[in-house]
Structures are given as structure tokens and as C-alpha cells.
Amino acid sequence: MIRNLWNDLEGTFFPESALDHMPEARLREVQLQRLKAVVALTYEKVPLFRERMDAKGVKPGDVRTLADVRLLPFSTKADLRDTYPYGLFAVPMSEVVRLHASSGTTGKPIVVGYTAQDMEVWKQVIMRTLYAAGFSRSDIVQNMFGYGLFTGGLGLHGGLEGIGATVIPISGGNTERQIMVMKDFGVTAVCCTPSYFIHLIEMAQKMGIDFRKDLKVQRGVFGAEPWTDQMRQYIEGATGIKAYDIYGLSEIIGPGVGAECHCQDGLHIFEDHFLVEIVDPQTLEPLPDGQEGELVFTTLSKQAMPAIRYRTRDLTSIDTRSCACGRTVRRIRRISHRSDDMFIIRGVNVFPSQIETALLKTEATLPHYQIVLTRKSGLDRMEVRVEVSGEMLQDTVGAMDALQKRFGHSIAQITGLTAEVTLVQPGSIPRSEGKAKRLFDKRNEG
């Protein structure tokens, strides 16, 4: 196999990653050509898109430059629900080789489909993701993303096989067994959500396992939920591994939309497949590069279910500076919050990530926490429940009182709001084995 030719150059050159380095002018040409094709295809095959185009009086032929993408209508998760299950598919089912679905926390799930070519593209972008994070065929990789309808597990799996790594398709859950496998199988790299990995670090500590001495894990890719630089510092400090952020969503392709390189300074978007825009979430007007707004994607090569100007609800900005790694595909700042995570309390906009930052400012390690919003006689209250760990514990009530006050003070500094901080016993906040749920809004209950 010709692929073996490159193995001697391992760690220095990966043919799939060459597309990350395309000359910019050529990259824009490719994007424009693909944009025209996907708009024509979607207009022809997807009634909802055609109706919206017609309502705006826009024809596929009106897209002449990349900037013309702003003529196109937006799409949202609601469109996927409204047309459940296959309403946005652009190919007959005989062409669809794979279905995935999101866990529907409210009502119906959303369904996404892939043609054989889509599957190949998906594999390629995940290979590029993994190479960017320093994975190679020598790695033994424990893939703790859930296998099944969720795109995380099987998505990563395809790319891991693509790079020739040894894959352990363990899926999520059963943390003690995960740690046993990690140790016994000599695992060198991991994939999972950042909150699950933090849970796993805690469990390893409890089991008396030292990441640096007892395990061989060197690196990991973490995604499927927003996380912060402080969480990365915690993960890297506690384990000695390199933690890379990856980005994706099922509606676009799954994991493999964007990835951090070794510079760990924003996520490169695989722009030859995904056209990125940032818009003002209220006015939906495009925002200039560098300004924070809602991330919007148009898929450039998807066949089964193309997405046109899909609103992700994730908030970030485009970084046009060239990256020290040499990739020419642009970066987005890592996503630490989503527009639908934001809550408004006493008229102030707050993101759970701000609470997290405040807690990490007080304690070097990230405690488990939960934000509970309640309403009492018309007044909103924000309670932040923080689990006390062995490292945080001091032997006098006075010292613990002071810690509680420091948490409250730090939250007030960052959000401008008074929060009631409650210290709780370890384990009293439920752990997530998938995406962490931090916010409990009980203001409209009872």
C-alpha cells in the first residue's frame, strides 16, 4: 500500500494534512466552486431550502462570490426537528449509508445522514484533526465517546482507524473499568468530553493511580461541549498529558469540523469542507473577523444532508492571524460558551463558563459545581453549589467560611452578581458521563 511510504516520515508529514496548508487563494477558489454546487444541489433537492430561497427572491445563480453566502437563508436545529426525520436529505435513501441522531432531551431527536462519500470526507477530516493533535499510528487510543447514534464515538473511530492507530472502542461509562483498561492496555491517547475526563482523573486519584507513574497516556482530544483554558490547565497539570480541543456538531458532520494544532491557540476549521461565518445572534448581520458572535456553517461537500448557513448557537470569533504551525486554514477562538447556555439573572447576562472561571481563580483545581437559579417572592437567586475536595479542605470552620466567601467574592468580581455559595460533600453533585449539565433553572417551577 502506497500509504506505507509515508510511515517512515511519521510525525513529520501526513498526506491528509496537506489540505490544511493549501495556498489561501486556491482555498477560496475551491470554496467558491463547492459553494455554488452545494447551493444548486440543495435548491433542487430540499423543498424547505427552495421555499426559503424563493421567498427571498434568490436563485442559486446569484451566488457568484464567497461573500454572496449572506444572500442565503439561515437554518437552525428547529428546521431539523420540523422536518424529522429525513426532510432535509438531498439524496434518496438508497444513497444513504449511515444515520446518526442526537439525543433528544426535549421531544424528538434530530437525524443526520451520510452517503459513502460523506463517510470518506468525515474520516479524512477526523484524520486531519488527530494529526493536528499529534496522534499517529503508534498510538493506542481509548475512545470514550459514546458509540451508537451519537456522532462522537463512531466519528472518531473512523478517523482513528484511518490513521492506523490501535483503537479501543470502549465507549463511555464505567469509569473504574476505563482506568483499568487505560493501565493494562498501555493506552497512549484518549478521546472524550473534558468533563468526563475530569471525572476520570478524580476516580483515578481515588483508586490510587498516578497518571504520570502508572499510565502511559500522552495526549487526548476533548470536545462535544464547551470548556475553558482553565479546565485545560487543570487536565494537563493533573495528568501531564497534552489536551487538545476539537470541535464539531452532528448537523454539520459530527466531530471533525475544527481542531487545535500543537500551538493550542484556537481551532483550525477545515475550510475546504466547511464555510465559516460569524453573525450577530440578534440581528443576524455578518460580523467582521475578530469580533465575537454566533458561529454559522455552510457545508461545502456534504451530499446526504447539506447544511446552509446553519446557526450553531456557539459563540466565538474568527482569528485571521497566521498560525505558527503553518496551517493556512483559519482558526476560531475556542468556544467557551453557547448563546443558549446564557442565562439572564436580575437583568445581567451570565454564562456558566464565567462561574467556572471564578471558581478556578479561587482554587487551583476545578471543583465540581452546579448553578441553581430559583425565584422567591419575585426575586431571582443564584446559588452555586461547590463540592469540597480533600485538597480544598482545611481543618477549621473559619478557614472553610473564608473559602466560601472567596468563591462568592470571585463570582461577584467576574459577573457583578451576588451568588449564594454552598459548600457540599464530594459526590453530591451528579457526574456526567457525557456532556456536563451545570445549570438548573428552577425559576418557573412551583
Binding site: K206, V388, G390, D395, D401, L423
Partner: protein, 143 residues
């Protein structure tokens, strides 16, 4: 001689203390003495046991937040002014008592008090030079 004391964080809610005691009992850990201080919302349970390593491991495995502290157990004459004499001695040495409590069992006719000092080594030196008997763990738990 310092004694290792275990402090455990407990939420001030019904059943929390009994759950911890049950966990220790199931592991066969015998508690020599206990002291709880709280602020209404949460408390710190301090405990002394002959088997501190086992107690610590049991508590950690059960998922509690716990930490160890060095305390000093003293024999205090059981007569008026017995404790005052010891405290004056420590005050003169510039040592503060962060908290103290009585040891549940009495090995002899005198009282046994457990002290947490801000400067344990300094306190021990002052006690030693004044000839105040300080318990070794082995003697304290033998009683």
C-alpha cells in the same frame, strides 16, 4: 509526640453524621474520640482513632473530603487551675490554641485534653521543658 487527627467535611443535614459513623463501623474502625464543630451549614468532624490509616482509606474510598492534622494530647491535672496552668505556659511560649477538646477515655485519674496549636513544634518544646506529660499515640490509645 504528635497525634494524627482526621478531619472530615460534612454537610449539616440529617443522616450525614450517622452515615459516616456507619461507614467506619462497617470497616471495623474504632473511634476513640470525636469532636464536631459547625457553622449551621456545614461542619468539620474531627476524630481520633488507633487506626488512622485505615480510617483515612475508608473515608476516602467512601468519597468524603478529609484531611489530617497534627494534634497534641496532654494530661491535665484534674483540679481547679489544672488547665489554666497549662494554658498560661503556652501563652508565655507565644503559642495559640486553635481549638481543643476532651479525650473521651481517661487512662488515669487526670483529664486528657486534645489541642490543636498554631505552632505544634513550638508548643511541644514548651511543654517538654516545663515537664508537662504529652501522650504518645501508643499510650493514648492503649487506655
Amino acid at each position: 509526640m504528635k497525634i494524627t487527627q482526621l478531619s472530615v467535611f460534612l454537610e449539616n443535614r440529617p443522616g450525614r453524621l450517622s452515615a459516616l459513623c456507619r461507614t467506619l463501623a462497617d470497616a471495623g474502625v474504632n473511634l476513640s474520640t470525636l469532636m464536631l464543630s459547625d457553622n449551621g451549614e456545614f461542619g468539620l468532624l474531627r476524630l481520633l482513632t488507633p487506626d488512622v490509616d485505615k480510617a483515612k482509606a475508608t473515608i476516602a474510598a467512601a468519597g468524603y473530603a478529609a484531611t489530617t492534622t497534627e494534634v497534641v494530647a496532654l494530661q491535665v491535672p484534674d483540679r481547679p487551675g489544672g488547665l489554666a496552668g497549662v494554658l498560661v505556659l503556652l501563652e508565655k511560649a507565644g503559642v495559640s490554641v486553635e481549638y481543643m477538646y476532651a479525650f473521651a477515655e481517661r487512662p488515669g485519674s487526670d483529664a486528657v485534653m486534645v489541642f490543636r496549636f498554631d505552632q505544634t513544634d513550638k508548643a511541644l518544646a514548651a511543654l517538654q521543658s516545663a515537664g508537662v506529660p504529652v501522650f504518645k499515640p501508643v499510650d493514648l490509645f492503649k487506655a
